[in-house]
Symmetry: C2
Subunit: 132 residues, 2 copies
């Protein structure tokens, strides 16, 4: 044996991982990545957390909870909107923002799938280490 380490190389394989669920995740990897990217900023994460309370908030209200300018918040909201995670309605002179339930549900489902796959991966790693 060339190496007595737990880590060892696997044969090169084309294509993605061999689980159907994981493949379905990979198929929409662009969309999924955009969702993760949307959450990949502290300010945006905070905005989402606030909106998670279930309400509809105006830009000034949301700005009050951050350290940045109103325009900065607007930009972040736009990013979230582009990822389809949030929607808005103009009401008089203010624009109210809330979570987009459908997309959020979709994202949550995907995260669950990934969670399950990770579980699977961890299981394999464990038996791998134990069988050493």
């Amino acid at each position: 044996m060339r190496n007595s380490v737990i880590l060892r190389a696997m044969p090169t394989r084309k294509g993605p991982a061999n689980s159907a669920d994981l493949r379905s995740v990979a198929r929409s990897s662009e969309t999924l990545a955009s969702i993760f990217a949307a959450l990949g900023d502290p300010t945006r994460l905070k905005l989402v957390a606030i909106l998670c309370a279930g309400g509809a908030f105006s830009i000034v209200q949301l700005t009050a909870n951050t350290e940045i300018s109103r325009q900065g918040v607007t930009k972040h909201l736009q990013v979230l909107a582009d990822a389809g995670m949030v929607r808005n309605v103009k009401l008089g002179r203010e624009r109210l923002w809330q979570l987009e339930p459908k997309q959020i549900e979709e994202a949550k489902r995907t995260l669950e799938i990934i969670g399950r796959e990770w579980e699977l991966a961890l299981g394999k790693l464990k038996t791998f280490a134990e069988s050493k």
Copy 2:
């Protein structure tokens, strides 16, 4: 009543949402955001998916599954490593990469929390809409 729409403004409130779990998420928002950001790129998502199979792969092997250069892959792996999601071991002339079980487990747990919170938010939205 000023507006007969489902959407309506909530009173401005300082501080984050009022759930203990969600607060705990917000507390580590920097770390959490870095995890999401790490997953927020199609190539990186693909790398993670491959590593989810549970193996340890060299850079050339990982590169074979992407469209970009070896150096590009190296950079992406570094991003994942910075987020603590992946680790590597130098083995002879190659460097093998695999998922970091601890961090992955942590990330998964956080995603579950967010999932639960979203559920909660959706519930509120529903009763909100129905009570109209």
